[in-house]
């Protein structure tokens, strides 16, 4: 009898211990990151990884060392670059995504850097029902209607499982129009190179310009290999424009247009040029004839804020602690590696369980979230509801951050930053 009593007692004790233990035994949730960690991308990739680690460290510091919902978080860093080419590789990217899917502890797939790579991994994580979030992809078609069939072709299950905390390329066009109005421009002539990216941002610019009452006095697509734009620029001048918006990249006519605008005296007559980040390239200044041509005449947008441009308290803390912990300056996209990691941790916290579907659902429901670039949530496509972008000017032949811009900045035109 006493043996039986002892057995019962032991059983009760065991059950009691078991009831308490799960809280402290800490089950692990794994987050797989996937972006290039070798080749020319290595510095950027390494910095992004450090930024993600720092975001986790900050979370733990702020929560007495306890992970989100009591879980232990492990970052599993994978590399989607090919050792032979040094740049992203679709096969490796697919393998990385598959590893996450096959690892029962993997709850979030954190990648990619290249939009092309995201096109590969998105369908894989989508079918598995795993949340995927990017630290850098700007291609619009990943989240909303853009090229034929997008974004549905990346969502075989029909559900949205992919998110980004940075702006897509088209938001640049919207923001550029708002910024142009704030700068006092009233009549815009829009040019583009008729390519996917260039025409895309120009279309976005035209759409927003119409909404906010910025007059578009003309629109032309140019042959990207053309070398003589003088007839077109004569037309621009005759149309009475005070700004040319050019949807170009560095090798599709943009430099020629800028340089010929100067040669034809357009800059001298206070007709300026604005363009997207495809032209944000240090070589541009030299190509168009140096600082005399560019200074004060060129405005270029960039689809995000670099760590150094962050003004929020959490952003300042991120940059300061990053430099102290790792001993170097965070790279441009580290902002979004840090912010997307913040979103991951917050989603796990709200889900409260280590369940892929629950965490995905929580991420979908993100709203009024305070990230390093500002307060935002996700819309029905997985895009951030509010995004901050950078407006750059040229001073002494160098690109200089001038102000934070956004698609709605024309409502208040606060250009203090």
């Amino acid at each position: 009898m006493s043996v039986k009593k002892l057995f019962v007692l032991l059983t009760v004790l065991m059950l009691a211990v078991l009831a308490i233990v799960p809280v402290s035994a800490q089950e692990t949730i794994k987050i797989y990151t996937s972006w290039p960690l070798q080749g020319s991308m290595q510095p950027e990739g390494e910095s992004m990884l450090d930024a993600a680690r720092l975001a986790l460290q900050h979370y733990l510091d702020d929560h007495d060392g306890v992970g989100p919902a009591g879980f232990n978080i492990e970052i599993v860093a994978t590399d989607d670059a090919s050792p032979t080419t040094g740049s992203w590789d679709g096969v490796i990217e697919a393998e990385n995504a598959q590893r996450c899917v096959n690892d029962a502890a993997c709850m979030v797939y954190f990648g990619t850097y290249n939009s092309g790579a995201a096109k590969v991994s998105m369908p894989i994580t989508n079918e598995a029902g795993i949340a995927q979030i990017t630290p850098a992809n700007t291609y619009p078609g990943l989240t909303h209607a853009w090229d034929a069939g997008e974004p549905e072709i990346y969502r075989p299950s029909g559900e949205v499982n992919y998110f980004r905390t940075n702006a897509s390329d088209d938001v640049q066009g919207f923001s550029a129009a708002a910024w142009a109005q704030c700068l006092g421009f009233t009549k815009v002539y829009i040019l583009d190179d008729r390519q996917l990216y260039g025409k895309g941002v120009a279309d976005a610019f035209a759409q927003r310009a119409e909404e906010i009452g910025l007059e578009v006095v003309g629109r032309d697509g140019v042959e990207s290999t053309d070398i003589d734009f003088r007839a077109l620029l004569t037309k621009v001048r005759a149309a009475g424009a005070d700004l040319v918006y050019g949807g170009f990249v560095i090798d599709s006519g943009g430099p020629q247009v800028i340089q010929q605008m100067d040669a034809l005296g357009l800059f001298g007559s206070d007709i300026k040029f604005m363009g997207p980040d495809g032209l944000v390239n240090p070589a541009l200044v030299e190509q168009v004839g140096g600082a005399d041509v560019t200074d004060g005449n060129i405005f270029l947008t960039f689809p995000g804020l670099t760590p150094q441009q962050l003004t929020s308290d959490s952003g300042v803390r991120f940059v300061a602690d990053f430099e102290e912990t790792y001993g170097y300056e965070p790279s441009p996209w580290s902002t979004y590696a840090y912010q997307s990691m913040q979103v991951i941790l917050n989603s796990i916290e709200r889900a409260g369980v280590n369940d892929r579907a629950a965490i995905l659902e929580a991420m979908r429901g993100l709203s009024e979230f305070e990230g390093v670039t500002g307060i935002f949530g996700f819309d029905e496509n997985g895009d951030p509801t509010i995004t901050a972008l950078g407006g750059n000017i040229v001073e002494m032949g160098e690109f200089v951050f001038s102000t934070e811009i956004s698609p709605t900045m024309n409502e208040s035109c606060d250009m203090g930053g």
Binding site: A231, L232, T234, A238, Q287
Partner: protein
Amino acid sequence: MSLELELFIQQVFNGLTIGAYLGLIALGYTMVYGIIELINFAHGDLFAFGFFISLTIFTALGIPRPLEGFNLIVVLPLIFVVTMLLSGGLNVLIDRVAYKPLRNAPRLAPLITAVGMSFALEALFAIWQGPSQINYPRYFPQIDILRDWMGLEPQLLFITTKDLFLFGVTIPLMVGLTLFVDRTKLGKAMRAAAQDREAASMVGINVDRIIATTFFVGGALAGAAGLVWGLYINSGRFLMGFEAGLMAFTAAVLGGIGNIRGAVLGAFIIGLLKAMGDQYIGGAWSRIIIFAVLILLLVFRPSGILGSTQSIEKV
């Protein structure tokens, strides 16, 4: 003057400036075709070569800008001469290496070789000067003639000393070439070789030398066009010869390939079509208009506006 009228005049002027540099390039196409019935696709790249080599010379000499006095009157013409000699020489070399061994091969062989030569030159330019846009510093002084010299206040018209320079170089070269072909003994020999190579050699003309001369003159003109372009537009790229060559070749066909006056006329027509197309129809349509005109013309007048030296054969 109304803005509309000024705009029209300015666009006609823009069209003529385009015709001026295209004409120099088109001459080389038409001369070579006239003599050996080869469409020298690498010809446009000679234009790019003239641009790059003259820029290299300017940079190497460390000439201050804008050009003034001695540099403007003596050094610039010298650079012109050197650029033309080098471009002409390169064209002769290309002929020697790539086309001459195929002189009696089927028509398609040298044609494909010419395309290959064009790609090879473009790749070499990209290695030599880099693949991106290159700035050609403003050596030639740019002064607004109407406002600064004549004190007029037009709303739109914009004509500078660079425009004078463009016409001042290209028109004499075109006239000079026409006189050379029409009046000199060498020109007469060229015309003879163009008419009938075998008969020309029978009457004692050294046809190989005449062909080399033709390549040299054509290359020199394209090189001059490259230099003028650099000083006029101040910007270029390793692929610029493709774009310019395409338009110049079209001009040569439009005017009647093999016909020297036709090439110049064709170039001015193309320049005007481009300027008018950009202004009144839309930049995206300009190329469609140019080639639609070309096709229509060839349907109704297969030998071009002024007539070809020989009937156009299918290539």
